[in-house]
Symmetry: D3
Subunit: 314 residues, 6 copies
């Protein structure tokens, strides 16, 4: 259950209205890499973790809740950046002021950068944040639904990447305002993404094994092949020569993938090479991990008369 | 800032897994009238209300927070209804059990109703809730962005309608489960929509005037016309005869709207009839309300060095 | 069946082209609260009402048809506001004129406000309206599908809220044009939303009982609780003290909802307080209304050899 | 302006309820190739045609209006196919009947095909049509916005293709019902798509020239090249040998497009071959057509004090 | 299987950065009528054609592959038009340069046209193309999924229309740049749409019969009716008088469709007129074509032990 | 430029039709974590990398091209799994066979699992793949647009997470078929995700520094704080005690975040603790990296007369 305190986690401040920057800042309110996406991503992932992995559940809910608090910080900042619009719109019988703004003739010209203020602030939300990105595209759960797959070895990797992206958006946003108050808030929020990144990384490292993600191992015949599908100006690097990062297999560089596929009957005749892993060792590992993980999960949940609250446990 | 307590507001329970009903219940998790929609709707509306109308802000945040807690209740229920799926999927090396489920031959046949379990529970979230409706459509802010218009006389009406719709979905859902534990939870959640309805109604009634919504009055020439645009089997009722509900104007029934429009030069020649309101009285009211509302809002916010937290106020 | 007359219901006029305002006006053509949304909302609701409630069906189709006519008025106005663009684009071999417009050097500078004309008017529809909002987001039925729930006590409330929102958008739009012709049209359209609001309200009042919406009553243990979930700067008002608006129950203010939930075993131990309603009276009412409404509907439709046209009735 | 008559254009009938087929039939109500898409496509295209091409405007509005009438026929059929659901849902206090349906134990088993009825009919619209396709995806204007490009030589071709697709959907639907009444209606609707196809074709043929669509001619160096980009099991046919259908140019078959691009400096060195068209003749034609079409459009519209209704013309 | 060569099919060049035009050009990268839509449309259609119609499969894959190459050309052009943005953003510690750009004070003012650069280039992709249209709407398969219907007589017509629309977008885009290099590339791409149009047309003509699309003929009672549904300023033309384009039936003009429908019992009493086609001839043709087409398809595919590669055929 | 060879990279085979599994397999054709998403993600990221980091560009295009080839493998498998549907649909005059399938009475009952075949295969694509996920949701670039941010230290992390998710989907899919041929193909495709994961990891490791992603360092006052926002059943682990994974800072556990925020004036009074990093060291690093990265990028691109093809370089 959630609880709310009216003060923000971070005391967000704004020097003066700036609707153009408010428009850009929507990217962190209702954008693909924004705070709503973050909060809802971790919140959804937490449900499946609760019984079998209560420590990870705790972490996911700690961070999800913080992200809701960050969503509020971003929304409050946008609201302050839009100060003045709603009051002007309520003065509906006398529209000269806003017309002046839009004509760019008045002294408030600098307040609304011409052409960069989202129309939704004018005829939609009338000076308040709404759940769109900086271009007006409504937030969609398509951004995040695929990040919850019921397996922490995958979910945490999606989370590390998500924190990475959120950090980048703050880095870019910081370059489009020179309000020191706003910069101070963005700097805090950007830093928290860096902090969360490391938390998720630590949690991932505490799971063993965690590669490959999930249960099933990979086929040793295909796991170390590099297909040189893009021709011309070819480069070699640790991704297509030497040994692979996790399995330490010898990478097989296939110079002409089309010829190779045709000659191996569409790779059906491919044999494992440059690896100690075998079909048998893979099956063994598959079974072992299947037992381990399914047992962890099944023993943590009963199949009837379930309840959620711990206070009912006894 | 938000805070989270691991126990649910309502102690949700489930008798036994039922993935088919979990699929339907997604309607309240990631559907158009679901709890996510509700929580985010009120949360967004609250920002603009904070300075000028702190009492309504308090109510909106009280209810928004409760809705987040309800979202968690729905998610927890779905998770319990899906118990068993994730553990089975982790047993990836041995897939006979799930194949049996799908072939309908095993004793678990009744657990997964054939054809009604969402594919996303099998190959997407693997037995956890995700933000879609009961048909797999990802949640979109298009459901709610238009409900926040920066004016409480409109926002609260949208909220009353939204609570209405959410109540209906629970009423329908109650007819598709016979698990007494689940019914108990749905009954609680349905009742809260009824409670919220009355709160929003009380808040709306405390604003004067609140009709028409917003500032601008309506044109007395057109406000009491009823156009009989659908022909055949015509009916008369209080919506097209007698006096209008709010203005008490005499309703003018236009039997043949096409002829009427053509004869009045596309209504340009229309004169007000059956009303005491005049063009002048309307302009008067427009100005009066413009001053009142814009002043309420403008005086509540300063235009520079803004901050959000009350602890900084002194 | 529909019929079309080439003249508009209202004789829309435009003083001179204004592509920037045409962009904003898209909000009423293909926006969430626009005329397309309105027309299709009522049209869909009408199907279910036809047999059991032919008077409400008549009203819904009267208004749906008027909204289609309003959609045409908005489209015609946008088309007139964009006059000149298509002709210029057809002069494809000689692009100097448009380049001048965009460079802001020509005398037509005021015609296209820099940066506010939707790109879709230039490289998409080439100077005609299309079904997007003012930011280019394509119209989606996600805006309205949830407003049709097969129950007039809910549908009409959604309609009242929808008319409210549409009115607001016209109020805001009126502040961004000073073309007296366009204002005249917007004023007419805004007024009609106010008129429709009252019609839907009258129709809702003619249904008894209509609260709570639908059939099922609410649980007296939970219907009058107010949870003070947002902490700090708390306010009391008619929404959280006194009696509730519809049931007249004594509102129970729960100061510390977290403690309260934990102490009541997640509200499972909650007893009804401050209300005369009981579990028994609720069940009674549930049954009574179930019989009433299902009978109204079932007796109005036969289950075989159905047809729609009244001319076939005999 | 629109007008509505309560009888349908075609007297749609239904033998008995069939919710599973109602689900499939949604494809023609709210699907990509359905009647809503058709009606709104032609309606939007009509605006731009009104002044310069009033004959085509008349045709577009005739057909758009008919498509709205078809949308109503499809909706009425879905409503009749769903008869019984709403009445059952209103019997909310007693849910045994529906539970029996879903359990497949009752005699109504054949009414709801297991697993094929859309959840939206149960917990969303409660037995009425809504604007989704047969899988529950909400209708989006993304289906049609790109079909209106402000040029009849392109719009009419999009319309011909759209009628083609709508015809196919009816053809497929006809194979999933054996209700003779429903087949009769689908047969009518399918036939009308064939009729409209020929109308659009006739209208396109009445425009000269109409190829290439729009104004600008194509570059003779690139218009008759065929790049054999997919290798293996190559075929020759009238699309890559002989003369091209419209220009009658000799098709140049490029066997090895990669080598060819590299050797011609990315086609910059390409010379026209197998064609009489030259750079000069193309420029000539560009200018001629630019003048013709832009003049047609510009002379048909005045740039100030515009109005739409013909009754105001004098 | 695909293969990639790092040089472009056409040697795209750019004179100098122009982010505003890059924004418009997104219409061809991630817009409804853009190259991604084209490539994926033909690619999907090809699967079903492979066995029964290998010549059409070859053509579809030749063109699909060319469209992927065109997508790359458009992306490369956008990338070049955005040169400078990413490098500036990387200079994150020193944001003066970009601020100057946005304030319009610096000498680079002409590089970013005020208000017309997509925010996604600044805070999203940071100076690279992404899959949106010119207004930031993410590309959706809703644009094209309906164009693949498993029947070449419909798919090819959709393709002809799609090439038409893509041509138009290039024609419009050409009017918003005066960079001769960019014009040169757009001219090439526009011409290829014209070339593809003719290829699809030739392929369609090689199928007999191809009208009506699909298998089922149309009902002679309804195929030649023209309903004059839009009243006032009526026009006659080859689409509503004379003979129909494909069937050569005498068009029946129905002046007053509402009266006509009412008088014919909703067209149920309609008799075929002005046509030689009869119910019997239609059924005959239906059967004949059913046999022909289903046999073509069924004999081309075996129902077990299927494989795709031709190298396995022996 | 792309090239296509008609044989698949992997010789996909199918034992017998299975439309139900084809429906699930759509998740890898048009789903959020499917092959289309993968191919287009890397393809878009490659544009920005081309000039400054040609080795990474080479890798991105190699893998993007392989993913297009995988998309084709998945599409071919779906097509084979749907064998029979299109031929049946073409037999349109005689619909008994399909009706039998749907009624479940015929011997082909096992071919179409009741209720699990996507309607789009029946009335949409008619037995061919289309770009939706397993629930019919059209593919949207919203899945991937946010993964391209113009910085390899972020893009590669998104790619690692994306390969993780794609691997999981194959793992789940493998549990819903027992066709050994299909399993063989899925096993290959799953393995390639594991291989790509390691390639992206190797590429990321070759960039120094790569943490934090992008340019700007993080604020030492906030980078090592852990807020215990979710209360009850708290856990400690390496993510909230000890040292952080990348910076090695001492993690500061904040037991009561609300009190802490209130007492530190919304963290404005927070001092760095448990870290050697200072405001100065951070600024220093910001500047250094800004210079490094912006120089890398700026020197790699000229600002005028740009071209893409290497053949033009000399």
């Amino acid at each position: 259950m959630f609880y709310h305190v009216k003060d923000l986690q971070f005391n967000a401040r704004v020097s003066k209205p700036d609707p153009a920057f408010a428009t850009l800042l929507l990217e962190q309110f209702g954008g693909a890499n924004g705070e709503l996406a973050a909060a809802l991503r971790y919140f959804a992932q937490a449900f499946g973790a609760r019984n079998p992995y209560p420590d990870k559940y705790d972490m996911l809910m700690d961070i999800a809740t913080e992200e809701f608090s960050h969503l509020e910080i971003v929304g409050a900042t946008i609201q302050m950046l839009l100060t003045g619009i709603n009051g002007d719109l309520k003065n509906a019988a006398e529209n000269s002021e806003i017309m002046q703004l839009l004509d760019g003739k008045a002294s408030k010209e600098n307040m609304i950068h011409k052409g960069m203020i989202a129309p939704q602030f004018l005829v939609g939300s009338a000076g308040s944040p709404c759940y769109t990105n900086s271009q007006g595209v409504p937030w969609t759960a398509a951004y995040i639904n695929s990040d919850g797959q019921g397996d922490l070895t995958s979910d945490l990797r999606s989370d590390i990447a998500a924190e990475t992206r959120a950090k980048m958006v703050y880095e870019y946003l910081l370059q489009f305002t020179d309000d020191p108050y706003v910069k101070e808030t963005l700097n805090f929020l950007m830093t928290r993404e860096v902090a969360h990144f490391q938390m998720f990384e630590a949690a991932l490292e505490s799971i063993n094994p965690s590669f490959p993600p999930g249960i099933l191992q990979s086929d040793p015949r295909y796991s170390n092949l590099y297909f040189n599908f893009s021709n011309g100006n070819d480069y070699r690097g640790p991704w297509n020569e030497g040994t692979s990062t996790q399995f330490g297999e010898d990478i097989q560089f296939i110079t002409d993938p089309i010829r190779y596929s045709l000659e191996t009957n569409g790779l059906l005749n491919q044999q494992a090479d440059g690896t100690d892993r075998t079909n048998e060792s893979v099956r063994e590992m598959d079974k072992e991990l299947s037992e381990l993980r399914s047992k962890e999960i099944k023993t943590a949940s009963k199949m009837e008369n379930m309840h959620w609250n711990s206070s009912t446990d006894t």
